[in-house]
C-alpha cells in the first residue's frame, strides 16, 4: 500500500505547483478570452466569441508576419546549424565537448543584453556599417536596424544553439559503421550522406524545429529591439494589450489563437515527417 502511494507523495508538491500556476492560469486565460468589460468596471463572462474574430481581423498582419518570421528564422537555423553540428559530430575528435561548449557560450549572457548588443553592432553609424560606408562599399543611407531582415537575423542568432544541439545529438548517434557499409556498397560520399546520414539525423532536426519555431514565432524582444515600428510581431501586440491597454479579453483571445496555430503547425509537421510520437522526441 505504501509503495503504491509513494509516487503520488513524490509528485504531489511539484504537480500541485504546475496545476495551480500553469494549468489553472491557462483555463483562466481561456475564460478571459470570452469576456467583455474593462479594468474599471470589471470583466464579465459573456461568451463573447467576437474577441477571436476581431483579434484575427485587426491583427492579421502581425500574426502572419510572426509565422513568416518564425518559418524563415527556423529554416535559417537549420541551414546554418547543420554543417557545424555535422563537423563537430564526425570530425570534432576529442574536442567535441569544447566545440559544443563554445556554441553554447551565448547562453551565459542575458538574452536581452545580447539582442541590444546586436543593435549596437548594426547601428547605422555603428562599428560595422560606418567603415563600410566610409570606403564607399555601402550607400550612406543604408541601414539594417528597423528592417525585417534584422529581426529574422536576430531571431536566428538567438535560437541557433537550440538547433545545433539536437542535430548534433542525432548525428552523434549515427554509427560510423553504417557509413562504411554504404561506402562498401559503392555509395559515393554524397550518396552515403543523402541516403544514410541525413535520414538518421531527421529526429534531431525535428527536435530542433520544435525548440526554435515556437519561441521564435512568439518572441517580441527581437522585433522590438531590432525591428523598429514597422516589423511588430504578434508577441508585441499581446504584450501591449496586456500591460499597456489592459484589454485582457482581446489579449487572451490572441494568445490562444497563437498557441492553437503553433500547436496545429507542429502536429502537421510531425505528420508530414512521419515521426511517431511528438512527445517521445521532445521529452527526451
Amino acid at each position: 500500500m505504501r509503495r503504491r502511494l509513494a509516487p503520488y507523495a513524490l509528485i504531489l508538491p511539484g504537480g500541485l505547483w504546475l496545476a495551480i500556476f500553469f494549468v489553472v492560469p491557462m483555463v483562466v486565460m481561456l475564460s478571459f478570452s470570452l469576456m467583455q468589460g474593462d479594468v474599471v468596471n470589471g470583466f464579465r463572462l459573456t461568451w463573447h466569441w467576437q474577441n477571436y474574430s476581431e483579434g484575427l481581423s485587426t491583427y492579421d498582419d502581425q500574426l502572419i508576419r510572426s509565422l513568416i518570421y518564425g518559418v524563415l528564422a527556423t529554416a535559417a537555423c537549420i541551414v546554418l546549424a547543420y554543417p557545424a553540428a555535422y563537423w563537430i559530430a564526425f570530425r570534432g575528435g576529442a574536442r567535441k565537448t569544447t566545440y559544443l561548449f563554445l556554441i553554447l557560450l551565448p547562453f551565459f549572457v542575458s538574452f536581452v543584453l545580447r539582442t541590444f548588443s546586436w543593435k549596437f553592432l548594426l547601428a547605422d553609424d555603428g562599428i560595422i556599417l560606418s567603415p563600410l560606408k566610409d570606403i564607399g562599399l555601402l550607400p550612406q543611407d543604408f541601414h539594417v536596424i528597423a528592417t525585417g531582415f534584422a529581426v529574422v537575423a536576430g531571431l536566428t542568432y538567438n535560437y541557433l544553439p537550440f538547433m545545433v544541439l539536437p542535430i548534433y545529438v542525432a548525428l552523434e548517434r549515427v554509427d560510423p559503421k553504417m557509413i562504411e557499409a554504404a561506402q562498401d556498397l559503392y555509395a559515393s560520399p554524397t550518396q552515403a550522406f543523402v541516403r544514410v546520414v541525413f535520414p538518421l539525423s531527421l529526429p534531431g532536426v525535428f527536435a530542433g524545429v520544435l525548440m526554435t519555431f515556437v519561441p521564435v514565432s512568439a518572441d517580441y524582444v527581437n522585433s522590438t529591439v531590432l525591428g523598429g515600428t514597422n516589423n511588430t510581431m504578434i508577441g508585441n501586440i499581446i504584450q501591449n494589450l496586456y500591460l499597456v491597454n489592459t484589454d485582457y479579453p482581446q489579449a487572451a483571445a490572441l494568445s490562444f489563437t497563437l498557441m492553437a496555430i503553433l500547436l496545429l503547425g507542429i502536429f502537421l509537421y510531425a505528420k508530414a515527417l512521419g515521426t511517431e510520437d511528438v512527445l517521445e522526441v521532445a521529452t527526451r
Partner: protein, 275 residues
C-alpha cells in the same frame, strides 16, 4: 553523456571525404562560433570603455573604472540583487519539487504518469509569451498584486520541469536493487534516500539546478508580464535602453558570464569525477 560518446567515436572513420571539404567545414564551424560570440566580445570590451558620460557608444580608451564603480547606479544594483535572490530561491524551489517528480517518474509506474508528462512537456514547450500572459490573467483574476513573489512563483513554475526531466533520466539508469539493499540492511526510507539515492542522483540534481538558475536569471518575457514594479536585471536593461545603457551593465553582464562559465566547468568536472 558527451564523455562516453566521445570515447566511443575516437576511432577515426576510414575513407574520409576529401580534405578540402573537411577544411571548409572546419572554417565554417569556427565562423559560426565567432558569429555567436561577437556580441559577447563587444559587451566585455565596452565594459572597459573610458566613456565620459552615460552613453557607451564609441571607444574612448581603456579603463577599469566601471569595475570600481560597479554599484554606483543604485536601481541597477537593486535589479541585479533582485535577479540573484530570485534565481536562488527559484532554483532551490524547483530543485526540490523537480527532483521529487524526477524520482517518481524514474522509479515508479503509476496512473496519471502520462498526464504529468504531458503537462511537463507543455510547460517546457509552450511559448513564453502565452505562459506569461496566462499567469498574469490568473493573478489579475485573483486580484494578487504583481511583484517579487509572483516572479519567484513563475520562475519555479517554468524551471521545475527541466529539473524533473534531468533527474528522471539519471534515475532510470540506477539499479533499484541498491536502494532495496539499503532498506534490507535496516535503513528507513529517508535514510536510504539521504545516504544512497541522493548521492547517486546528485550530479543530475546539480545539473538541473544550474539549468534552473540560468533560466531564472536570464528570463525576460514571462517576468515582464508578472513583475509589477519590481525590476530584475533584464527588465532594468529593457527599461533603460532608450537613454543608453551605462557601462556598469556591460560589467555586470561580463561578471555573470564569467561566473556562469566557472559554474558550468566546475559542474562538468564534478560529473566526470563521479563517474
Amino acid at each position: 553523456m558527451t564523455a562516453t560518446t566521445a570515447e566511443r567515436k575516437t576511432a577515426a572513420p576510414r575513407r574520409q571525404r576529401g580534405r578540402w571539404s573537411d577544411r571548409l567545414l572546419y572554417g565554417y564551424t569556427w565562423a559560426i562560433i565567432i558569429w555567436l560570440c561577437l556580441p559577447i566580445a563587444v559587451m566585455i570590451a565596452f565594459g572597459f570603455n573610458n566613456t565620459k558620460g552615460r552613453l557607451n557608444l564609441t571607444w574612448q580608451g581603456f579603463t577599469f573604472k566601471w569595475y570600481a564603480q560597479l554599484f554606483s547606479v543604485p536601481d541597477l544594483t537593486t535589479a541585479l540583487v533582485n535577479s540573484l535572490t530570485i534565481a536562488l530561491i527559484a532554483t532551490l524551489g524547483s530543485a526540490v519539487l523537480g527532483t521529487l517528480i524526477g524520482l517518481a517518474l524514474g522509479r515508479y509506474r503509476f496512473r496519471g504518469q502520462g498526464t504529468l508528462n504531458l503537462v511537463q512537456f507543455a510547460a517546457i514547450s509552450a511559448p513564453e509569451t502565452v505562459m506569461g500572459a496566462s499567469l498574469l490573467s490568473f493573478f489579475v483574476q485573483l486580484n494578487v498584486g504583481r511583484g517579487y513573489w509572483t516572479i519567484v512563483v513563475a520562475h519555479i513554475m517554468f524551471s521545475l520541469s527541466f529539473v524533473a526531466v534531468t533527474v528522471r533520466s539519471r534515475v532510470l539508469t540506477l539499479d533499484p536493487a541498491i536502494d532495496e539493499a539499503a532498506r534490507d540492511l535496516g535503513a528507513g526510507g529517508w535514510t536510504a534516500f539521504r545516504l544512497v539515492t541522493l548521492p547517486m542522483i546528485f550530479p543530475a540534481v546539480l545539473a538541473g539546478s544550474l539549468l534552473a538558475f540560468a533560466l531564472s536569471i536570464d528570463d525576460f518575457i514571462i517576468t515582464s508580464f508578472n513583475s509589477g514594479s519590481t525590476l530584475t536585471f533584464p527588465l532594468w536593461i529593457w527599461g533603460a535602453q532608450k537613454n543608453g545603457l551605462p557601462p556598469q551593465v556591460n560589467v555586470m553582464g561580463t561578471l555573470i558570464f564569467v561566473a556562469g562559465i566557472l559554474l558550468a566547468v566546475g559542474n562538468a568536472v564534478i560529473a566526470r569525477r563521479r563517474r
